[in-house]
């Protein structure tokens, strides 16, 4: 194919990616946006296959068949609750591919120009780091690797040594252009990806995934510099930007900084907890019948789902409860905290799976002003994101974190197994408020009992 024509078609593919992301600005057009992007990718692949420099199609065809089969199987079989680890795994494969492209380039050509070698080194390093880091994140989320923050005393010495070694290998690549330094850099990047991700606790993994997603975009762009492809550079930059924005949203919603997440082992240790101690305060305990009555005779109900809801697989039960209430003329809406679930927007997907219409889901800023006029706020499987200490106690580790102001509604019903603190390890005064009713139960069982009580009313 004519090189100019090919360049033009690649540009068209990049435009399809941009339009695809643009259509993600509304759930109504989002699906077509994803189709635009897939079409762009197909176009890019076809143009590449027609490239005249390709001499053999055997390895390509075999690779596409194997990869396509594995990818399609994973995409079809995954549970929606496992979405974060699937994205992590896909991300790892993408990063690995970028590193391999750069390694193949080194092994295919000698006397590469310096500017190419610089980007080869960047591509290998970020790609290798993304590969191993993503799979450690996958392992932690999947429960294969201990989700706690694993750190060893040698870490503070080892990591800088690895980083210095990687830098030396990168310099060696640029100066000497020999394939061996490429492999050394790849190995060091992979090890560094493991040692950097292991000390991060499971609860922080979504941040890591967003961040590595951004890194895989940068790796793709670096690979684009290597093979001089604008399509790769543009797409890589788009993904790099999206990952950074999502990372930023997550760390803000968790009241952290990116540096604190990546370089301290706060994660799941919980040792920063400033537990206030429940003292002699008494939480008001409610029966499923009590909850049923207060919900059934309310005018406005806001449901606040947390990850506990998904763990208990209670999203369908909550949908049933909501339909029942709507049938009685109760206005039911859902309040979604930015970090509800295990990645940004995860809870929305889980509720969509249970056929909850997306226009009933409200963001924090949109729903918070409505809590004072809400009759019942039903909190299921959420804790830290509704903790009023974030507003009032400047000494609390979650102080300043944006929360859902459920405590301002007339009645708060919390469905929870016990009074135990959440991930941040902080006591929650919400549980002891006069207007709070605690329903101590597993989310699914408790809600099912509420549902049957409402039916009997």
């Amino acid at each position: 194919m004519n090189e100019t024509l090919a360049g033009f078609l690649y540009l068209l593919a990049a435009v399809a990616f941009i339009l695809g992301i643009k259509r993600l600005s509304s759930p109504a057009t989002a699906r077509s946006g994803n189709q635009y992007a897939s079409a762009g990718m197909l176009l890019a692949v076809i143009v590449t296959l027609l490239d005249r420099s390709i001499v053999g199609y055997g390895a390509i065809a075999a690779g596409i068949i194997v990869g396509g089969g594995v990818g399609a199987y994973l995409a079809r079989s995954v549970e929606m609750t496992a979405m974060p680890q699937l994205v992590a795994a896909f991300n790892g494969f993408g990063g690995g591919s970028s590193a391999l492209v750069a390694l193949a380039e080194m092994s295919n050509f000698t006397n590469l120009p310096v500017r190419t070698l610089v980007t080869v080194a960047i591509s290998i390093f970020i790609g290798g780091l993304t590969l191993s880091g993503s799979f450690v994140a996958f392992g932690k989320l999947q429960g294969i690797i201990d989700g706690r923050a694993i750190s060893t005393p040698g870490q503070r010495v080892l990591d800088p040594l690895l980083a210095i070694g990687a830098l030396a290998a990168a310099v060696a690549i640029v100066v000497s252009d020999n394939a061996a330094s490429g492999w050394i850099l790849a190995a060091l990047a992979v090890v560094l990806g493991v040692t950097r991700t292991l000390p991060i606790g499971g609860a922080d993994m979504p941040v890591v995934i967003s961040f590595l997603n951004s890194a895989s975009g940068v790796a793709a762009a670096a690979a684009g510099f290597v093979i001089e492809s604008n399509a790769l550079i543009i797409s890589g930059a788009l993904v790099g930007a999206s990952g950074l924005i999502l990372t930023n949203i997550m760390v803000k919603a968790m009241n952290r900084t990116l540096g604190a997440v990546l370089f301290s082992a706060f994660g799941a240790t919980g040792d920063t907890a400033l537990a206030v101690g429940s003292g002699d305060r008494v939480a008001r305990r409610g029966s499923p019948e009590d909850v049923a009555v207060s919900l059934a005779y309310a005018k406005r109900v806001v449901i606040v789902p947390g990850y506990g809801l998904a763990v208990a697989q209670a999203q369908h039960t909550i949908r049933e409860l909501a339909s029942l209430l709507e049938g009685r003329g109760v206005e039911v809406r859902y309040a979604i905290h930015p970090v509800a679930g295990r990645m940004p927007g995860h809870m929305n997907v889980l509720l969509a799976e249970a056929d909850v219409p997306y226009d009933l889901l409200y963001d924090l800023e949109d729903i918070n002003p409505d809590f004072p006029s809400t009759d019942v706020a039903l909190v299921v499987g959420a804790n830290d994101v509704v903790n009023p200490l974030a507003r009032s106690d400047s000494g609390s580790p979650i102080y300043g974190m944006p929360i859902l102001d459920v405590d301002r509604s007339h009645l708060v019903v919390v469905v929870k197994r016990s009074l135990s603190p959440g991930y941040a390890g902080i006591d929650n005064p919400l549980f002891y408020q006069d207007n709070t009713l605690m329903l101590f139960a597993d989310a699914k069982k408790g809600l099912a009992e509420v549902v049957s009580s409402i039916k009997e009313l």
């Binding site: 990616f17 992301i21 993600l24 897939s38 994205v87 993408g94 997603n213 890589g236 930059a237």
Partner: protein, 94 residues
């Protein structure tokens, strides 16, 4: 380094476009956004195909083959799972 100027320009401008587009994606779609963007980063499949198809020597061909497998998993899996999620998003049609 002059030859790097154009690709760097493209990279930076595309980054700004990405920033503008993505800040307009509502939080409810952030998970599909992440998995869709992730699929787009599988664009390295272009480099992988060239590496696998133009290689001289076994080692480079094997590298290219594995690169194609990885990138295809990323692309095919990423777009399919994003579609699966977006298919579920429905309006309240009462």
């Amino acid at each position: 380094m002059e030859a790097l100027l154009i690709p760097i320009t493209v990279f930076l401008l595309a980054g700004f476009v990405g920033f503008e587009l993505i800040t307009k994606v509502p939080p409810t779609l952030h998970t599909p956004l992440m998995s869709g963007a992730n699929a787009i980063s599988g664009i390295t499949i272009v480099g992988a195909i060239i590496a696998a198809g133009t290689s001289n020597g076994t080692a480079a061909t094997v590298l290219g083959f594995v690169a194609v497998v990885f990138a295809t998993i990323n692309v095919v899996g990423g777009f399919l799972v994003t579609d699966r999620m977006l298919e579920m998003f429905k309006r309240d049609d009462r």
